[in-house]
């Protein structure tokens, strides 16, 4: 508790001076921390132990109230983040240390611990005032060491990631700023991971505490680094304007940050599960600390907001986590808006500067000139691209049987036919169940007879080949006349004639040596099939409507059923014959093309859709059965009533 408070105070003082810089500072810390880690690796054990001890004592002094265990945790976690800042600070300016004594003090120890949290922790525990706590720590340490071995690979991975980062940072502050956020997240993760000595649940609580402590220390660090920033910027003569520009340019958008956060969140989770060695501290105190620390954290690095979201999964500290997350969000949100306001102010200030304005104006004009032509070119290309896509889509659409079938209202016809069919079926069933005994048997027999008549013969195709296409219209007209419902197949015949005309023309063109795009022929074939199918179903629908309407038919239902069966066969034959002819034509066209094999799939597709088309027609035909059956009942009823009248 005390440590976090102290850190917060330090942070606040620094933060007041340079809010924007706080964000930058974490980066530096991290960078330095990484560097230090490498360096520290060599010195590790000796330095760490010494520094850790020193730090602990210092912390203890400052944090008198806080439990001993917690400081240790904080240190271990903070080590990653803070260790380096100290070095930098020391090297760069001692003033910083003076400004934030507490934070700097904490940082050195952390730096030592950075690499091996485990090593640092044991020492810290040993140094802690309470011997009991020391013992506990030691016990935990052993398991932790074992775990460390297991965890080592991940650590290496982290190191790998971090090593490249320092190099990037050196080039420019802008880059550093961007990376800062990522680093802070990474550092946080690293710091948390390291403390985790064991995967067991027992260590879980302790990991919480340690993570809290680490965040707290990180806050302190960030504060220090902020101070550093200010000083260095002044020292180097950089104006705040430059900073403002940099920040406006260099700060990654919230989306990036959130990504980083998501990554960190994952890592956090794993760390938590691992749970470092903990002493007997109550979870509650830790949690409260956490909250405070996180509040500070949020101010220092808004990126972490989402990072903590997954902690609640463990359940024990659910409530605390919620509070913590909320706090983070609120704080970070406030921070974001503050940052925005700050940037805006900078922009306004910068524009107030005549020289800057002029420069900006020149830059903008130059940029516009190069942009304008580019923009126009891009716009043109984009428009062309879209037009092309639209064309392709249109072509694709026209070659799609289902879409074209719908375009010819085939689906609507089918839907209407289904409605009539269902209605008739309901009526037939109702009548059948209402009848009884002999009447029922009689009607059943008749209905079954009609049903038998609805069976299509499959063998017709061979004959169809021999049949002349021109006979189709004649056949269909005759069959419809036989139905005796006053219907002519005008639309159907027209569709068939049109299809045939196109085919004849195409064949003629091909014979005369002209080349025809197989793609066009394919589209025409699909359209022909779709139209023929739609018109066939339309014909069925009309037949159904008229049959239902005619109450005094001269044809018996059975005769009509037979005629309709013949009609269906004729339609299916026609589909087959026409698609065959189209395929022959398509084949000829394809053979004249450069790569005939490229079009084989088109021919396959035509055959496929032809069989689809035939099955559509046959399905529609079957929908007529209940309608004929209903007309059966109607005629019977009429006969009955006529008989009754006659009596």
């Amino acid at each position: 508790m005390s440590s976090s408070e102290a850190e917060e105070e330090g942070f606040e003082s620094a933060g007041e001076d340079v809010e924007e810089k706080t964000k930058h500072s974490p980066k530096k810390n991290k960078q330095t921390a990484e560097k230090e880690k490498d360096e520290a690796a060599s010195n590790e054990s000796t330095e760490k132990s010494q520094t850790a001890e020193e730090v602990k004592t210092e912390k203890e002094e400052s944090q008198k109230d806080t439990e001993e265990v917690e400081p240790k945790k904080e240190e271990s976690q903070n080590n990653t983040d803070k260790a380096e800042p100290k070095k930098e600070e020391d090297a760069v300016t001692k003033e910083e240390e003076e400004d934030a004594v507490q934070s700097t003090e904490a940082t050195p120890t952390e730096g030592a611990n950075v690499k091996d949290d485990e090593v640092a922790e044991p020492k810290a525990s040993a140094k802690s005032t309470d011997e009991d706590s020391k013992e506990e720590v030691k016990e935990e340490k052993e398991p932790g060491k074992e775990e460390d071995k297991v965890e080592e690979p991940p650590k290496d991975g982290e190191d790998m990631e971090r090593k490249p980062i320092p190099l990037r940072k050196r080039p420019g502050k802008e880059e550093e700023e961007k990376e800062e956020k990522i680093h802070s997240a990474l550092d946080k993760l690293a710091g948390e991971e390291k403390p985790s000595g064991g995967w067991g649940w027992g260590g879980w609580g302790s990991s919480f505490g340690s993570s809290l402590m680490s965040t707290a220390s990180a806050v302190g660090q960030s504060f220090v680094s902020v101070v550093e920033d200010v000083e260095s910027s002044i020292g180097s003569g950089l104006t705040t304007v430059v900073h403002g520009v940099e920040s406006s340019l260099g700060i990654p958008p919230p989306e990036e940050m959130s990504k980083d956060e998501a990554e960190t969140a994952k890592e956090d989770k794993s760390k938590e599960e691992k749970g470092p060695e903990e002493k007997g501290e109550s979870d509650e105190t830790k949690e409260t600390k956490e909250e405070k620390e996180e509040g500070a954290e949020g101010e220092a690095s808004p990126q972490q907001t989402s990072g903590g979201g997954l902690w609640g999964a463990l359940g024990v500290s659910m409530v605390a986590n919620v509070v913590q997350n909320t706090t983070k969000k609120v704080v970070s949100g406030t921070l974001d808006s503050l940052e925005y306001v700050g940037k805006k102010t900078m922009d306004v200030l910068a524009e107030g500067d005549p020289g800057y304005k002029k420069t900006k104006h020149i830059i903008e004009v130059a940029g516009q000139k190069s942009h304008l032509s580019q923009v126009l070119r891009e716009a043109k290309e984009e428009a062309e691209q879209r037009a092309k896509e639209a064309e392709e889509e249109e072509a694709h659409r026209k070659a799609n049987f289902g879409i074209m079938f719908d375009e010819f209202q085939g689906l609507a016809h089918l839907e209407a036919l289904e409605m009539l069919s269902n209605q008739s079926e309901g009526k037939v069933q109702a009548v059948l169940s209402a009848l009884s005994g002999e009447e029922q048997e009689e009607l059943k027999a008749e209905l079954i007879q009609v049903k038998e008549a609805f069976k299509l013969e499959d063998v017709v195709e061979e004959e169809a080949e021999a049949q002349e296409v021109q006979e189709f219209a004649k056949t269909v007209t005759e069959l419809l006349f036989e139905l005796h419902i006053g219907m002519t197949p005008d639309k159907l015949n027209k569709a068939q004639t049109d299809a045939l005309e196109y085919l004849t023309q195409s064949e003629k063109d091909l014979e005369e040596g002209e080349t025809k795009d197989p793609q066009d022929l394919h589209t025409a074939a699909i359209q022909m099939l779709a139209e023929l199918t739609a018109k066939s179903i339309h014909q069925f629908l009309k037949a159904a409507e008229l049959i239902l309407m005619q109450k005094d038919p001269e044809k018996t239902p059975l005769e009509r059923a037979q005629t309709l069966t013949k009609l269906t066969s004729a339609l299916c034959e026609e589909v087959s014959v026409l698609s065959n002819k189209y395929c022959v034509c398509l084949n000829t066209a394809a053979s004249k093309a450069e790569k005939p094999d490229d079009f084989s799939h088109l021919i396959t597709n035509v055959y496929l859709e032809a069989s689809n088309s035939a099955s559509y027609i046959q399905d529609a035909f079957q929908l007529l059965l209940p309608i004929i059956q209903e007309s059966c009942i109607q005629t019977k009823n009429l006969a009955l009533s006529a008989f009754q009248k006659h009596l």
Binding site: E364, V375, L376, E378, Q409, M549
Partner: protein, 214 residues
Amino acid sequence: MSYAYLFKYIIIGDTGVGKSCLLLQFTDKRFQPVHDLTIGVEFGARMITIDGKQIKLQIWDTAGQESFRSITRSYYRGAAGALLVYDITRRDTFNHLTTWLEDARQHSNSNMVIMLIGNKSDLESRREVKKEEGEAFAREHGLIFMETSAKTAANVEEAFINTAKEIYEKIQEGVFDINNEANGIKIGPQHSPSNPALGGGGGAGGSQAGGGCC
């Protein structure tokens, strides 16, 4: 064509009031003075845009003849909108409205939007039914009302589109359950509804983006 919704309409009314002509004017933008008698039902479809959304109107144009009534009744089901048409030059067609309305209410879903249309408004000299009468009837029965002319195309677009707007509003209000196809509404294939304005729209979008980045 990709669309966000498909609305099913039915057109009902006495024979010869101009139902098929209204459909033809709406879908093909042409007028055909001599027309075959409609058998059962015929279909038309057109795409319209409401609230930036492509909506396909699937229109079932029913036969007006009395003998077809039993069949056309079967088609009421599953319609989201109905155009109830009478002829302003024939009072009897107006007098039959009540029967038609009863039929429609009985055989369709209760949320169906019904638009009352007094057709042949171009034949003002032969008018038998005053506009006020149509308005009064509509008010009384909770219908939308319009006088149209399939011949001059006056108000034809509006009649179809206003009905669609009413249906669309009902969808927004949650009155229509769009997942229940018995309501006469289908959700279209979820393609981007950008087909019509591709060329021009693309160019404009590009230049806008360019302006933004300068």
